[in-house]
Symmetry: C3
Subunit: 349 residues, 3 copies
């Protein structure tokens, strides 16, 4: 693609008019760039890699370009936000594979399934009495149960399982092996001491523009609805228990777990390997750090860390002191001796 | 369903005879109840929600009903244990979907497979030379290897994998994507420093009335048997390593991991995201708290917390002191100054 | 098998010539051994089990045999390394199931797929326009996308997902349900505050002799390559994020997570449930303990523990002091009182 054409698609300007006829075929990092690629500088940390890059051109904001002009070994492409422009350039130069609409003769599709226009159902998929929105792509080995609704333009990768009653909005991206609508984990001790299953008869409802990671599980509610808001993004290996409520734009990194009936308000972010116990609320825009576990509700906007989690500043001091305990305990023992001596002296005195 | 009929099924009594003709269609929480639903009050914490509920009737024990009579905005249904009655009412009013017996023409079933009476094998399932007990339901995309035995009345959800040699008892509920009989993780350093696989040739044996969560993995033994006792309940994303032994009624919450050859005696409970290292024993009825990791055997009946785990009371004091370290370190520094002064004064004296 | 024949295959010697005609059918532990089995003693910890074993013969190194001669209740088989010999004996006596070459008529195989000699593709597998090396076995419900390359003599267990662009070397063992090539987790805040997906257009490259655990996920790179070196062994439920680089012989235990662009140099070992944050390096041969999370690069050869991780010795002292905080705080309070008294006395003096 001519650089001028790409710049046009990105709403970018070319300070060097001669660069318009350069040709770019892919997006690459400054470090790995080949001469047919466009790269980007969005983080000052990587400024040192500008000099050596072999890229044909580099996306940058005006300020970065002006201040680092001498470091650019190739033409710049000026955009308001280089990171977003990078994402857009990837979409332009590396388009996602397209899929022919149609239903494979090797798939199982229930006679009562309702398929929107342009749906693609690949071989070995299973679609029960479900409703699939137009343009949605269903990969092989996907299981879509009776009474499931999937929105328009979704991508359902292989081995996704959507159990009965699940509703998913438009443009969902469901990574391989994620599961929605598995039973919640609920048992009551029966008379003879064995655990008795509480039937899980609720469902899972998911908003629009959601992405769910590989091998992530979202349990159906015991009663009612486990709810995932619009624009929620969940990484791999995350466990969402029954009756959890996730507000819009919630972002959950990999290997995290949210216990039953917990509520995460909109814009909450969870770091990797974090955990939220049941029946608490993480307030709007709050953050839980990686590897933290909160046993208490977190007020809106705060960042908590640790196990059990506490506000981040308090946690940082605790860790600092803990890591210096060797020193502190030595000081304590020296003080004991010094006080012993002072007391001995006082007695003599 | 008439309330009188439901009460009859639950062994319940209706203090208000006029309520017998009320009609209920579903079970819902006090908060979400619609006028055609029956609700329940099992936890004093939710007593405040009684007033406002729109439920047609509420399950309660006699004591709760007598003491809170004025709060009931609708008839009560008196039962010995409101939580168990809730579970039973759900079973009555929300029966699980039933499946027509028979083998789908789109499934692969080995000619030598032995299928009990009333087995249902859905499309795209794979059943090798296995034995499937009567009444068991096999969902699509399930893989049942040669030399597997599954008991009666099991429910095997989509994408379950049961590898060669696995034995599962009656009434198992296997949630989507769980795996039994994957190889244990065993390597020995070879002469050239690369890790050499120890072939894993043992199997997995699972008792009756077990439930295994979505994406949970249970590895085959290196030699011998990885054993899961009867009535064991395991949540999603749990890792059970080779040669682990789980006694009856063990309950393991989500995202937990049990390393090789560990033994959990009966009635052990593990909180979410907890971990047990290899070759140790967690004694009968012991509990490991959420997010804890034990490196040592836990005596029967004790509750341990933390990483590394210690008895819960000791852990609680440690956390309290740790979170107050800022204060303690200040005190320590003040003491240093005060002792400095005392010493200076003593010298002068 | 005659013991003499087995000894021959293992390069072992039989100190008791009369034992050559013994017959052994399986390998078992000292404790569980039946009279038709061969056992092994590789760890002095189990020496006490020698006396009572019912095994027909026991593998041991010469030194162990000489020093414990009286404890052997059965003939010994002398080998240089009893643990490796045990692994080899398992391979001889418990050969892995073999699979008839050929493509099942119930599998989907793209017309443009290239299959090596002796490939076995079982029913309900999906193979796109991919290249499969000779001798490789593909179990049911495996998904192999277009533009995937798999080496020779691989074993791909059920429900494995290999997405577009993935390359896997020879002799890989891919346990059930593992996923390679799922999208990395990358989002940029868009103008309206919703997270905008950064398209993930890189790939996954995996070396020779790798084993990947059940339900483990390896994300494709954002740009470029997520790289898994030769002889890497990864346990179940591990998350490898986009652009991670794993050197040769890296061993990762279950339930661990490695964040984006982290680099683990060769011979690194991660304990179970451990975590590595993004963009850091774990140096050659370094170890991260179970349940630890490192936020900083670890120098080659070091062992770190804790959250956040620190060098193991320092961590051990920190834990010791933390667990004794109750005592230390008592000492601190006593000192306060003693200094109060000394000060009062000094004032009076």
């Amino acid at each position: 693609m001519r650089l001028a054409e790409l710049a046009d698609k990105l709403g970018a300007t070319l300070p060097d008019p001669a660069s318009a006829d350069l040709s770019v075929a892919r997006v690459m990092t400054l470090e790995d760039a080949t001469p047919d690629s466009i790269s980007f500088i969005a983080n000052p940390k990587y400024m040192g890699q500008l000099n050596g890059t072999r890229a044909a051109a580099v996306l940058a904001d005006a300020r970065t370009f002006e201040s680092q002009r001498t470091r650019f070994p190739c033409p710049a492409v000026i955009v308001p936000n280089a990171y977003l422009a990078f994402a857009q350039a990837v979409q332009v130069l590396h388009p996602a594979p397209t899929h022919e609409p149609g239903v494979s003769g090797l798939a199982f599709v229930d006679a009562a399934a309702e398929l929107g226009h342009g749906v693609c159902i690949m071989p070995l998929a299973y679609v029960g009495r479900a409703r699939i929105g137009r343009g949605t792509v269903i990969y092989p080995h996907t299981f879509i149960d009776d009474d499931v609704e999937l929105g328009e333009d979704c991508t359902v990768y292989p081995h996704v399982v959507l159990m009965r009653g699940t509703r998913v909005g438009a443009r969902a991206i469901l990574q391989p092996g994620c599961v929605m609508g598995s039973d919640g984990f609920g048992f009551a001790p029966s008379a003879d001491g064995t655990p008795e299953k509480i039937p899980q008869v609720g469902v899972v409802h998911v908003g629009d523009d959601v992405e769910i990671g590989a091998c992530t599980t979202i349990d159906r509610a015991a009663l009612g609805v486990t709810r995932i808001g619009g624009h929620v993004k969940i990484d791999n290996h995350v466990q969402i228990a029954h009756n959890v409520q996730l507000g819009e734009n919630v972002i959950i990194s990999g290997h995290s777990a949210i216990a039953g009936s917990a509520k995460l308000e909109k814009n909450v972010m969870l770091g990797g390997c974090s955990a939220v116990v049941g029946h608490i609320t993480v307030g709007e825009g709050a953050k839980l750090a990686a590897a933290a576990q909160t046993m208490h509700s977190i007020p809106a906007g705060e960042t908590w860390s640790g196990v059990p989690a506490i506000p981040r500043g308090q946690w940082a001091r605790m860790i600092l002191h803990s890591q210096n305990l060797d020193e502190h305990v030595k000081t304590l023992r020296q003080l004991q001796k010094r006080v012993d001596e002072l007391e001995a002296r006082a007695k003599q005195g």
